[in-house]
Symmetry: C4
Subunit: 218 residues, 4 copies
């Protein structure tokens, strides 16, 4: 398959930020996601990979728009989830394990992602094509590229979903261009990048792309 587009800028972050810097990026990302209405009712989770094999990741059940440092867990990558973790933290850790160049993973409850996910789940993907904003996804050079944004059925079996995501990205055909993210039907959007800034750019771009697809369909 084609590598997730973030792979190409890997060398920029062979040195990860220290944990406190990573945690501050998580706090700021949550604040901005809340302003956009993406994390209602304590929804959403955010992580940034830090130095020393650590990940700064949001604690479960807190308002993501008003976090402080104690709301961020100091999770060792590749180890069991800490007490207070969201069940979905496993999806973050699996992405970091599968993709060594990933520096940040953001998950939000965008309305268009949730609704379009239900409309496309039988098809397994939303194809983004003909939108200029596709070029905001790392490695995409033209709106003519057919970008596949995978859609997975929602489940409470997070281990199974982590396996499904992992297999999907590993086994996609060589000529498929995959977005740096995926949709869970009736649930929301995951997006990632080589660092927090790129992951946020991908999140913003996918949010608008999905809103455009939904409006075009209506």
């Amino acid at each position: 398959m084609s590598q997730p587009s973030t792979a190409t800028s890997a060398t920029a972050h062979s040195v990860w930020p220290d944990w406190n810097t990573a945690a501050q990026a998580v706090i700021e990302t949550g604040r901005q996601a809340a302003q956009r209405g993406w994390v209602p009712a304590t929804a959403g989770n955010f992580s940034v990979r830090a130095a020393d094999g650590l990940v700064a990741i949001t604690r479960s059940g807190v308002d993501k728009g008003a976090m402080v440092l104690t709301d961020i867990l100091r999770q060792p990558a590749g180890q069991a989830l800490l007490p207070g973790s969201s069940a979905e933290a496993e999806l973050h850790l699996r992405l970091y394990a599968d993709h060594p160049t990933l520096g940040a993973v953001f998950h939000t409850h965008n309305l268009a992602a949730s609704v379009l996910g239900r409309l496309h789940v039988a098809h397994g993907r939303i194809v983004l094509e003909g939108w200029e904003l596709q070029k905001a996804l790392q490695g995409i050079r033209t709106h003519e590229t057919r970008v596949h944004l995978p859609v997975f059925a929602n489940t409470q079996d997070i281990a199974a979903l982590a396996n499904e995501v992992s297999a999907h990205f590993a086994l996609a055909p060589a000529d498929t261009v995959l977005a740096p993210g995926y949709v869970i039907a009736g649930h929301g959007l995951y997006a990632w990048g080589s660092d927090a800034r790129q992951a946020w750019r991908h999140l913003e771009a996918l949010d608008v792309l999905l809103a455009q697809v939904l409006a075009l369909r209506a």
Copy 2:
């Protein structure tokens, strides 16, 4: 019937906040509801149960986004409405009487609730199913649960509506899972919780759930 989901966390608030703390929570809730456009033209009302058998509840006719302490009434639970009360205050007091663990009741004029209410009033409910955000409702563990959000016809006979709501929650079949709230057609949304924080989480979750249902339908 299944208990309203808030019943399960009752013990957390066997001690209610003092009236001033409750009133401050009402003021802050109104401010945030106004920012979201949920209380146009002095619409909406908000209450928090306080110690000593009191309820802190909004006065009628004030801008809910800019309230001060004198806009909050010191209403004794289970007694006649004070001068300056909204007629709908009766709906709040009935909920507190029926459900001893309820700590806060919030009512807003969300567009999706008002519109979907008219579309579903003949059916008597909106069924929420397959949305991850259902898990933000206390006691719901999976998106697969069919959650019933009751829809009542609008009326100016508030005593009759209070009776109808009371009977509906008391008499629902045992296998029905009820949301911690209800919709009045062409009017808006009621949501409650064991305290102001939980009631707000329920209000945010139901607002997004209804917006998703409306978008999926379009």
Copy 3:
């Protein structure tokens, strides 16, 4: 016809505010209208009736979200428009002349009003019925009241439009309940009240009512 609903609270403002107070209300109204996206591209105009036969009214062509005192004209009621006036100022002055109890007239470019106006212009009105928020219109006691919001075709002949509006409100059948405002198709919304506070409440209510009607129709 039934009196415009604002007539009932006339006595409250037999004494009008001084011109500076009225002008400050106009400035603040413009600021809040801009925050809601109702006055794009210098659109909209706002007036408040003041003491001594004066009206504080917005100058043409200024950004209504960032006005200062020199953007407000000191227009004598019932006299020729001052230099710098918007052509539509004539609509304001006619309303003040026709309805002695009117204290404020606000005009905005709400999207739902503009679009629904085009859909309803052949019919001449939008009927509001079954919406609780109708009760935010002065004198309306129940959502069951059928409230007529007149819709006029757009025109650049403001004198003719002023006559048409004036005749419509004077000649409406006795059993017709008229909203305190009207829509111009493809243009926007006029709303008024006995003072700036009531006119703003009517503007907010009509904006949400029209958005609900548009959403229900879609």
Copy 4:
């Protein structure tokens, strides 16, 4: 063809602002565009013509909502693009070359423009007719004027697109009234004016006009 409407107020800016003033206008425009959600994921570009044959124009790849002076390039008009330029800077420079009275060019990714562009690209234009807000476009005196907003297919060949735009505005029939801007399908909106203030007014007006057209169609 009819001149682009901005031509009529040319004399107002025979003296262009100095580069620093122009750059500050670009920074402020980007900040306001970001508040409206028009420049997601570093999208959009903005320029203001300055004295001494210079253009103040946004650098590629920066967040347009939080720019500082070093994010603005000091581009000589009519010369090769500076390092760090967006490819689309060529579209700006061609507009300044073709229309000597143009003082500012703004490009944003408005949802309605992007979506309507795809729906209208085969037709080559969106006709704006019957909307009062058309009068916010310089030179338009009535909502009855049929204003043509050209729609071009998206392409990564910016030189070809610049030629296509240039020819379209030069060769339009004499009785065609052209908007001061154009749409690129699946991409976004360009708008211009004799100075930054007028270009912003045109951008706001076209954004709302397109949202109205989209809502009327739905």
